[in-house]
């Protein structure tokens, strides 16, 4: 490959590195989320169990969003198809599981 071909690639790569700071923030944020979850579970007896479950679910959803958007680059350009496929997969898996469980056990 000639130097001419490489040039646009390099500029793209430099562009990607600009998100370093955001990555550190995301990293700290996911650790904080994990800590909150741990502390809530650890303080059995002091916190209402129902509250623990709800909080855990909320933390889990937030965690997934952060992991997906920052570490899996879902927020970046050119990731439309992976997002489409993930949503598609979630819809299909969700339908299949809910329907089967509903018919089999209720």
């Amino acid at each position: 490959m000639t130097a001419h071909d490489m040039a646009p690639d390099n500029s793209k790569r430099r562009h990607r590195h600009e998100g370093k700071q955001k990555h550190i923030i995301a990293f700290i944020f996911s650790i904080v989320l994990t800590l909150i979850a741990f502390v809530t579970v650890a303080s059995v007896g002091e916190v209402n169990p129902t509250f623990t479950v709800i909080l855990l679910l909320v933390m889990a959803v937030l965690q997934v969003v952060i992991q997906m958007s920052y570490w899996m680059h879902m927020k970046d350009k050119g990731h439309v198809l992976p997002i489409v496929f993930m949503i598609g997969g979630v819809i299909i898996a969700f339908t299949a599981i809910v329907m089967s469980v509903y018919w089999v056990w209720w």
């Binding site: 000639t2 496929f85 598609g88 329907m99 089967s100 089999v104």
Partner: protein
């Protein structure tokens, strides 16, 4: 920097290849082998049913035959031939030099192949799967099926399913990332679109069956209770899991055929495909709806009227995008200068035949009517119309159409037409009459029937048709042999009317596919250039050295490992009457050894850096002369 690569020759070349075209040919060979086995099973089934109270095979053997016929044809016959065409053609149609993950591509083939071999070795070992291709429980549980038959089914299909899943992911990555400059999604040929959606269906559907098979394997081999009712398991759960996979599977089978038909019909009508964007839309919609209809296989289970009604409607909805496709093919032909080549005869005959399969499909989708049709030969006729009259005709069309591109030789046309008529008439004789057998009340999966119920003559006709189909397939093989003796002297575009990128490069295709990546300027890229008077595609890059992946034996070894491990797990509890063997199998040593091979190869692959090699421009020139 890439090092010089050791080039293998002869059989080692085929065992180590990561070239998508060679892997495609391997898929074709393996598919043909299993298709042949499944075909022989079909003929034996029909011979048994030729007259009432026949004793050609006994009931047990008959159960084994129908189970293995269905399983082999779907998983090991049809799927690999589809993957063969996808492998060879899709990278060419999008202007790529290979698939996204060539190593994985080889791994996908070899796991599929060894899974299939494991399943079919059941015939030699003597305990054959006999619970039907759907392997419903409790029939498939240890209580009712205590030979190793169903174990072969669960383990063989897991290993081969792994290969299919790998293939599907590979094609998704390839089509998303490796399109040539200018090849936007809405300029992709229909076969590539169909392969794309099929791969997505594979990605979403195969995990379901893998989970199901693992649960069934745990029930059978390790004393699990997922489907064991006395301990709280549920047998209907298996049906859900199986059909959540099983219904998308039939669209995995038919969508590539839709793609092939679209390309073949438009080429041989010398017209742009009518309604291209609606074709794309219909394909996507069929793919999506395909996941929302699985319970129509379970109307008779007793899900209740609301569920049955919902799934009836969802199923009938699929007829809409399918109808769009049918009319688009008709309008593509309308006013075209149609050439009746063998490929096009298969493609054109596909349309009415598939419509018949679709119409009976809508009949079956109506839940109240389904209570009448359920488990009769009407259902057998329906799905053979969609799979044989749909998929197999599509595959034959595709094979005739792309054979010159794959092998550099044109299949014999007159012989191809004779084959077509034999196969097509045989097909109609076999299965048309089965609709009426079903309506008269003949049940599926019965190994024989009493005389004078009105079944006798119809079954005879059906068997005669099956034998005609068999002769047709043998003629096709004769055609292949005759063709292979002819010289390789074809140009880039042997049909003269090629529309897509695969017809811009030599036949057979050189290992690097495109000397220069083409620049795509519109839908039907090659046709567009031809209409503007160009004799070759504009290039998107200067001639340069081409980066190629290195061949590797690791995919083969990994699959051998899984194959060995499969046997190890299956026979762990058997008594061989031999201390050494009992020790080896009983302690899972054989299984561990197999897994060690597989994981060892994975470890090797991870630590060994292999950057592939380069083909330099001077080498391209030498090869260019030869091609």
């Amino acid at each position: 920097m890439a090092h010089t690569v050791k080039r293998h020759r002869g059989i080692m070349d085929w065992l180590t290849t990561v070239d998508h075209k060679k892997i495609g040919i391997l898929y074709l060979l393996a598919g043909a082998l299993f298709f042949g086995i499944g075909g022989i099973e079909a003929i034996l089934i029909r011979i048994q049913l030729i007259k009432p109270m026949n004793d050609f095979v006994d009931a047990q053997t008959f159960n084994e035959l129908i189970t293995m016929h269905g399983t082999t044809m779907i998983f090991l016959g049809a799927m690999p031939i589809i993957l063969a065409l996808m492998n060879v053609i899709v990278p060419l149609q999008i202007g790529a030099r290979d698939v996204a993950f060539p190593f994985l591509n080889a791994l996908g083939f070899w796991t599929f192949f060894f899974g299939g071999i494991l399943l079919n070795l059941s015939w030699l070992i003597g305990s054959v799967p006999d619970a039907g291709w759907t392997s419903y429980l409790p029939l498939a549980s240890v209580d009712y099926s205590n030979s190793h038959g169903v174990d072969f089914y669960t383990i063989g299909l897991q290993i081969s399913g792994l290969g299919t899943l790998i293939g599907g992911i590979n094609f998704l990555a390839t089509i998303i990332n490796m399109r040539a400059p200018g090849m936007s999604f809405m300029r992709m040929p229909m076969f590539t679109w169909a392969s794309f959606i099929t791969s997505a269906l594979i990605l979403f559907a195969f995990p379901a069956v893998t989970v199901g098979l693992i649960l069934l394997m745990f029930d059978r081999l390790f004393g699990g209770n997922f489907f064991y009712v006395p301990n709280g398991g549920n047998v209907v759960l298996w049906q859900h899991i199986f059909w959540i996979f099983g219904h998308p599977e039939v669209y995995i089978l038919i969508l590539p055929a839709f793609g092939i038909i679209s390309d073949v019909v438009s080429t041989f009508s010398r017209k742009r495909l009518f309604g291209y964007s609606s074709m794309v839309f219909a394909t996507v919609l069929i793919g999506f709806l395909g996941f929302m209809v699985w319970a129509h296989h379970m109307f008779a289970v007793g899900l209740g009227p609301v569920a049955n009604a919902l799934f009836s409607i969802a199923t009938m909805l699929i007829a809409v995008p399918t109808g769009i496709k049918i009319f688009n093919w008709l309008f593509t032909m309308w006013g075209g200068s149609i050439q009746f080549t063998a490929a096009n005869m298969y493609a054109i005959s596909f349309i009415p035949t598939f419509v018949m399969g679709g119409v009976t499909g809508v009949m079956l989708a109506s839940a109240p009517a389904d209570f009448q049709f359920h488990d009769t030969y009407f259902v057998v006729a329906h799905f053979h119309y969609t799979i044989v009259g749909g998929l197999v005709l599509g595959l034959f069309a595709g094979l005739h159409y792309w054979w010159p591109k794959m092998f550099g030789r044109m299949l014999n046309e007159p012989l191809g037409k004779v084959t077509f008529w034999l196969f097509w008439i045989g097909f109609q004789l076999t299965f048309f009459i089965q609709h009426f057998l079903g309506l008269l009340g003949m049940q599926r999966r019965v190994f024989t029937y009493l005389p004078n119920q009105g079944f006798d003559k119809m079954n005879l006709v059906s068997t005669i048709g099956a034998i005609m189909m068999g002769v047709g397939v043998i003629l096709f093989l004769v055609n292949v042999v005759i063709t292979s003796t002819k010289p390789k002297n074809l140009g880039n575009d042997p049909w003269g009317d090629g529309r897509t990128l695969e017809w811009t490069i030599p036949s057979p295709v050189p290992e690097y596919n495109f000397k220069q990546t083409p620049l795509v300027r519109g839908y039907d890229a090659w046709w567009k250039e031809k209409m503007e008077g160009n004799t070759e595609m504009p290039a998107a890059e200067p001639v340069g050295s081409i980066h190629m992946p290195s061949p590797s034996i690791l995919p083969f070894m990994m699959s051998v490992g899984l194959f060995v491990a499969g046997f190890g797990f299956m026979f762990a509890k058997d008594d061989f009457g031999n201390t050494a063997l009992n020790f080896l199998f009983g302690n899972h040593l054989i299984a561990a050894f197999g897994l060690l091979i597989t994981f060892g190869c994975m470890f090797l692959r991870s630590v060994k850096d292999d950057h592939g090699y380069h083909i330099e421009p001077e080498e391209l020139e030498q090869k260019g002369v030869k091609a």
